[in-house]
Symmetry: C2
Subunit: 440 residues, 2 copies
């Protein structure tokens, strides 16, 4: 008997919940049912919302969902988008509804949240080590025979812990693992093909475990030298493919198919191409890509990387990924001619790769937002404030006043999503249509 929650019900219940005054971005003074947000017809440019407010452009999201589905079809790969990026049940739903094979996650807390909202196939792109975390996963696998779960392993200690835990748990099916190939000087993962194969043999022999595939994360190779990156990523992907061949030759894989997984948001084309070259193994191969940032893209780091990716892909997928996530704030102060202080800070927008990118200025009541010049930039953020430095001698910038709105793009979606419990999905005219929740 399955005592676990029904994910569909949990997702529906988000629309039923009463949002309390104090949820960032919402202009409410009384509790409001989340499902009633759309009928308020709030418009961000009219200044209807509270500021700062995080908005998702619905048309861009839909475009990106479609683009990625076409991309995966082109290469015969499947997508398990990294859910840590958004941790949003509604966005997981949109991804699964647009062909995603499963959801990738980084921690067991994230797995438990995704499960609660209906996700039933999870790739944990991480080592599973803490006893409480192992227990939590085995509990889900035991209670729900339909819950598919894969984790990574890169140490004999990890194999021993997991094998012992499965045996103690009474779980009636093996725990599927992918051995992680790492990169010297970088994060987790075995440092050589030989170490991977040695561990793969250990997994294959360990009671309660099953070798499901081989995994790596090429995203750690991103540097400022694109040509070198492309070469290094291609070599890394080829190494994974070679390890898979060897492990298959040794008959180490369990299960009905062999998972190959890699693919962050920067070089998933190289991964897809590299993985598509493998065939002739003892069982079908499933290349699993894991990009998380494709969904919203951004105006900074990932936008640049995926534009280059689009160029590598050529005509078919040339329409590229579109930035979907913006943070809007209000000018709180104009203390100096070239300085505006905005009502957003480190609590509201990413600051780990780049500071936010000011795109648009708008005075509620005016016909439409004006593009800010390139010289306008966020030069610093405190916890709750941003310093917008304005170029001298620019009419729009000079006339910017207290109460005007500023729309910023961000760089690195993961570290903006985690600053909001609710993001507002908007039309192209910035009318709010509905909200999506996050759980961090």
């Amino acid at each position: 008997m399955n005592k676990l929650p029904d994910g569909g019900l949990a997702l529906a219940s988000l629309e039923e919940q009463l949002l309390q005054p104090g949820v960032k971005g919402l202009p409410i003074t009384e509790p409001l049912r989340q499902g009633a947000i759309g009928v308020q017809r709030w418009n961000v440019l009219a200044g209807d919302t509270s500021f700062p407010v995080a908005v998702l452009k619905q048309s861009a999201l839909e475009h990106n969902l479609d683009w990625m589905q076409r991309f995966c079809q082109r290469y015969g790969a499947v997508l398990a988008p990294h859910g840590k990026t958004t941790m949003s049940p509604q966005l997981f739903g949109a991804q699964l509804g647009n062909g995603a094979w499963g959801i990738t996650l980084a921690t067991i807390s994230q797995v438990q949240i995704a499960y609660r909202f209906g996700v039933r196939r999870v790739l944990l792109a991480n080592e599973l080590v803490a006893p409480a975390d192992i227990r939590a996963v085995l509990h889900l696998m035991k209670e729900d025979a339909g819950f598919e779960f894969f984790a990574l392993v890169d140490s004999a200690e990890g194999v021993a812990r997991l094998s012992q835990a499965v045996q103690h748990s009474g779980l009636q099916r093996p725990l599927p693992l992918l051995v992680e190939l790492g990169i010297a000087g970088k994060r987790a993962g075995c440092r050589s093909a030989e170490q991977v194969l040695e561990l793969a043999r250990a997994v294959a022999q360990a009671p309660g475990l099953e070798l499901a595939g081989i995994e790596g994360y090429e995203g750690l190779l991103v540097s400022h030298d694109r040509a070198a990156d492309v070469e290094a990523v291609s070599a890394f992907v080829a190494q994974i493919v070679e390890i898979v061949r060897q492990a298959d030759k040794e008959g180490l894989f369990g299960g009905t198919q062999i998972l190959l997984s890699a693919g962050g948001s920067a070089y998933f084309d190289l991964v897809a191409r590299g993985f598509s070259r493998i065939d002739g193994l003892s069982r079908p191969v499933l290349p699993v890509l894991r990009s998380g940032c494709y969904l919203t893209n951004d105006h900074g780091f990932y936008h640049g990387l995926t534009q280059e990716l689009g160029e590598r892909e050529g005509a078919v997928l040339k329409d590229g990924l579109l930035p979907a996530l913006e943070v809007w704030s209000v000018v709180l102060s104009r203390p100096e001619p070239t300085l505006a202080i905005l009502s957003m800070g480190k609590r509201d927008a990413s600051y780990d790769i780049d500071l936010p990118l000011p795109l648009l200025a708008h005075r509620p009541g005016d016909a439409k937002p004006q593009a800010l010049p390139e010289g306008a930039r966020i030069e610093k953020m405190n916890d709750q404030h941003a310093y917008l430095r304005l170029p001298e001698g620019h009419a729009l910038c000079g006339s910017l006043q207290v109460g005007d709105l500023i729309g910023c793009g961000i760089s690195h979606p993961c570290t903006t999503f985690d600053k909001w419990t609710l993001l507002l999905a908007v039309d192209d005219d910035y009318t709010v249509r509905h909200a999506v929740n996050t759980f961090f």
Copy 2:
């Protein structure tokens, strides 16, 4: 009739709420009532919790609450601790229960949350500009005659907006404002005493508004040159005092007392001393300090600053503030002899001033944690991982293995609190006693 929620009930309801599996740090597989956390007797060092987990050392919190109360008494100042640091209703309660005069906040979302949990005196240390935010504040003031609220203003546009909004709202009492004195090249605030006085006159004359005091934020002056800082802060505080004298001479203040407010977490001693020198005005003066980080202090930036502050204070308050906030994680991987990969990242601990500071290593089952040597340091964090670099030739570091626990101090509490919805309050032996919530 007051239709607004009863703050005490809301606070009590947190203990009643069912926490779902997936709340970071909790080792649960079934929903658990928050009030039942203490009786679980989880011990972090035994590896009972999930990792990462954020812990608050109860004894250090209590010490800091007491220390700050003694500090304020010494100077005849009151404390409105900046609530943006923790955004935790239980910690607001502890602060108010230990003599705090009110809570300082930075945004109207924060004000609404604090109000929901019973805070009835708020200093908004920020300009109040967005129409939805102004409406939300006036709603609270109108519905609850016992709700005291103060905001900052630094522009004629701001004064006009607020005066108009109060008149339209039908609020039967004036909105009390403090004019902000800023610092050239820094954040919001008028750039000269003359501008402050001009705006103070405008506030005094504007229908619906009342000049309650003068405010500044000396924390923006923190640099690497301590002697220069001390001089600049003292001069800034003296300037506020001088403006207050002049504004009082002109009869600009409304209300029964005059608020002077400044005091972040670095130099609040200089502020308290500067403010204590004022007397002989037309009505009583209330110096309001606003430190937010005193409560947990930290192991980095603020610890250094408050140690120096303690030295300036001398014997009476020499016992100083103690770091109360730690993030514990587990070693997920030992891929290279001098590298351990930890299960915490940018989603779990501050990275804006310094990266986390590894303090302790512990193997569950061992008698007690071992201090890590100074050479052990977090050299990088990804979203969900930290790279712990270990010195060569150190026995403890060499023997660190997958599954061992690492306790890190943090630098800058504000940007660690906002990464947790629940923090666990622990005894000195790391047994979990209860939980506190945050609302970001």
